[in-house]
Symmetry: C2
Subunit: 333 residues, 2 copies
Amino acid sequence: MAIRLSDVAARAGVSVKTVSNVINDYPHITEQTRAKVEAAIAALGYRPNVSARSLRKGRSDFIALAIPEMASPYFAELGAAISRAAKRRGITVLIDQTEGEAEAEKLVLDGMRGQLIDGIIFSPITTAPTRIDLAETAKPLVLLGERHAGGGLDHVAVDSVQASFDATTHLISLGRQRIAAIGVGGGAGTGSVRRKGYRRALKAAGLPHDPSLELAGTGYHRDDGAASMRELLTLPDPPDAVFCFNDLLALGALRTLAEAGLKVPDDVAVVGFDDIEDGRYHSPSLTTISPDKEWLADNAVALLLDRIAGTGEAARCDLTVPYTLQIRESTCG
Amino acid sequence: MAIRLSDVAARAGVSVKTVSNVINDYPHITEQTRAKVEAAIAALGYRPNVSARSLRKGRSDFIALAIPEMASPYFAELGAAISRAAKRRGITVLIDQTEGEAEAEKLVLDGMRGQLIDGIIFSPITTAPTRIDLAETAKPLVLLGERHAGGGLDHVAVDSVQASFDATTHLISLGRQRIAAIGVGGGAGTGSVRRKGYRRALKAAGLPHDPSLELAGTGYHRDDGAASMRELLTLPDPPDAVFCFNDLLALGALRTLAEAGLKVPDDVAVVGFDDIEDGRYHSPSLTTISPDKEWLADNAVALLLDRIAGTGEAARCDLTVPYTLQIRESTCG
């Protein structure tokens, strides 16, 4: 049988209103009264209706993280880091997998249809950040991902152009001449910004730009990387290096190279992007751009909590995530 | 400025109570009235207070999935599958990473502190299922994982003893004589039930049981598998096969074998458990026990939704997830 407010009041010898005041942290309650009510709550195992309480206090200490796919190791590792960063601040994270679908992303912008969450960290795919109207979002929102929101929204991301420039330049510095790129058609702006960095590096080194070495692929998964690599191997003059726009593509490409009996990095050097754990344990281990995921998680959570509390900067923030190039066996065996 | 119920009422030319009745789907409202109110809601962009509405209707169409760690590919893939299975039924899944901590698992049993969720799919680590009192759980609950709940709770799991017997028997059928096991100390009952199947298979084949070939490890991650494999290679008589109690351990072990210059499967054959995508793309690809994750996801969601709707079996269900042994290069190169 459910314990009610009136049961607590009867046991504590106070009015229902007083019990309610204690539960809702109202001021002007004596320590003695508070202690009596709390003892009665504990003795009866009363569970306050937190939904209603949160609505009144206006805070739940839950936030949501909306990501396109949790089975992608980058998002899984990022989600775990954001969950830990929030927990250090006493906040619980609920993760929503949108699959990049318009309907699911709309639910995010609508504040998760009335869930008791204080704010949302959102990595959009279908929704263009520039089309998100801040006045229309139901909850404080921090954006992740390649595309800037034009100053309208807080945004945390890696400088993908510069990172891709560095990854490509690393391959050039090893003397590679025919450097392919896999993933130039990637969604949510990733393909185009990383291609920009790749092309800039080729140009800076005076290497020709060969369109047959740029593969769009159909997605950012292992099978897409494997298929793109097979396509590259059919070229009359195949590449001697590949910059894959994420680690999953690179791991798929490595599988194709192994099946073809080609040596990595001797025949083909491979660089990825994300530094997922899988690449560190792979043989050969994967050279990759390593965004500081802990930094990203910590700063995205702090930024969102500042917005929720109303203590943040007045201007919207655009934070750039630090990264390093992790050189491993796939380029320097 | 927030649109209020009274604004909608004024525009529709009806009472506030009528607007409220339409929003809450009360019967006895004429189609004409409903159309007027819905037109006013659309015109003003009114967003009903769904929190309050859900409390009255008693359903939110959100469920939670509580897992120990989302960066573990098995849980990431399972979470993605459960999210899809729920979406097919119009339900949104919110994922909570407990890290297996007692406090976070208690939050799950308490019904996620008032979140508007209809039920929870829960993979516990610290909380012993037999100690979960159904009368104390705040929400309908379906348990995942190795440990049975003694009939008190709905439970969905692989028959890990039989699956481990099959994995070990596969190695025996290849003529391997010294078969090690990595992960026997694994948490949440996994280590002990899989060891049971491993030992049974050795016994059935008349192979001796050598305690020095059973490694507990400190966890179920790649680094634990790599460290355990290094330990096995220091033995005077190292193993010619290893059954790792999950794929991450196996991938770590494969890395150690590659670094040691040993050939897989010629020198050491390796079997994992989980069939994560990483193992399928690895070189050599990983032989593994493949639980049907889609089946698991679909049945766990269906079972929970039946409980929520009150339409399920009266008796608690214990569902056994089908699995196959996927034979790949790590045992049959």
